[in-house]
Symmetry: C2
Subunit: 161 residues, 2 copies
DNA sequence: GTTAATGCAAAGCATTTGCACACGT
DNA sequence: ACGTGTGCAAATGCTTTGCATTAAC
């Protein structure tokens, strides 16, 4: 587990160096730190969460830089913004095909790996939309919220059948 | 096409009345106007877009009300917030199972109806996550952006293989 | 008449932009 | 040295909250 993760991080780092060089982008401490933090976690953090996590580790990183660097990573194909119903961007260093489950109560996002879903037939989307990728989004209640009665909280607010 | 849409709108309106009554919520002009607007369009608008559209039609609607009413609709199961990578909430009056294609260039969201995808086997998400629904998100380039060279714009920003 | 919803103004997060300085190459 | 990246501060965009007023039942 830890080994796999470490391997993922170092490979990601190498990939970043390669892509940055290829695109004449500087290899800064900030870029390394942000990529390393993003790759080391599996909780699909927001820019602000990454900022908070890095604050202690390197001196004087700014929120602005985190936003800018993450955007660069998306452009370089090193990370992706994942689809979620919240009004904020969430990032994922894993750009391989995989899927997500989102808790409608606490908004936690967890990875779903399901080989069966990794090569579905792409339907004719119509209107000449050119599909380049897809992912399946599951919604429901996570174990934490189930335990805390999260489901009850929802019905109490008026969700009726 | 128009008939179908009109039927959808009036059914949605009836459903709202039923749900509101059942939950002792008032049937206000604003709620009707917002639901009618949302149900009449297929562009998955943001709260602000709905606000803009209604402005002219009923006198003095406020942005705050639009946000609050949409939230209520989600709680009542009359609408859903759809997953998207942008940092804002988008709404959909269609709560039946269906899927979406999102243009990575202009962020347009279009509906994808594909019976094959409407009853996939829900994988064991693990950690006791209780799945209640899912949808497939396709990403790519829409016809507009294809025509305008949207794809080129992306590669020029540094997306390399 | 009660209870709940709306509108306004202000506050609160999330994100972006302009510009001067600092760093990577 | 040169060009790019960063940090700061301020601006902008999206969403929520508190409170008085108004509308629905």
């Amino acid at each position: 587990m830890c080994e796999q993760r470490d391997k993922f991080i170092s490979e990601k780092l190498s990939l970043m160096e390669e892509r940055c060089r290829r695109n004449k982008l500087s290899l800064t401490v900030q870029r390394r730190a942000i990529l390393e933090n993003l790759a080391s976690r599996s909780d699909h953090p927001t820019a602000d969460q990454i900022y908070a996590a890095i604050q202690g580790k390197i001196t004087g990183i700014s929120r602005t830089t985190v936003y800018r660097v993450l955007e660069t990573f998306v452009q370089l194909g090193l990370a992706q913004k994942i689809s979620n119903p919240e009004a904020k961007a969430r990032f994922d260093a894993d750009t391989r095909r995989h899927h997500h489950a989102i808790c409608v109560n606490c908004e936690e996002v967890i990875d779903v790996h399901a080989p069966d879903l990794d090569s579905i037939a792409i339907p004719d989307v119509g209107q000449a939309f050119q599909v380049t990728d897809y992912s399946v989004n599951f919604t429901g209640i996570c174990r934490n919220c189930l335990a805390k009665g999260g489901a009850a909280h929802i019905t109490e607010r008026g969700v009726v059948s």
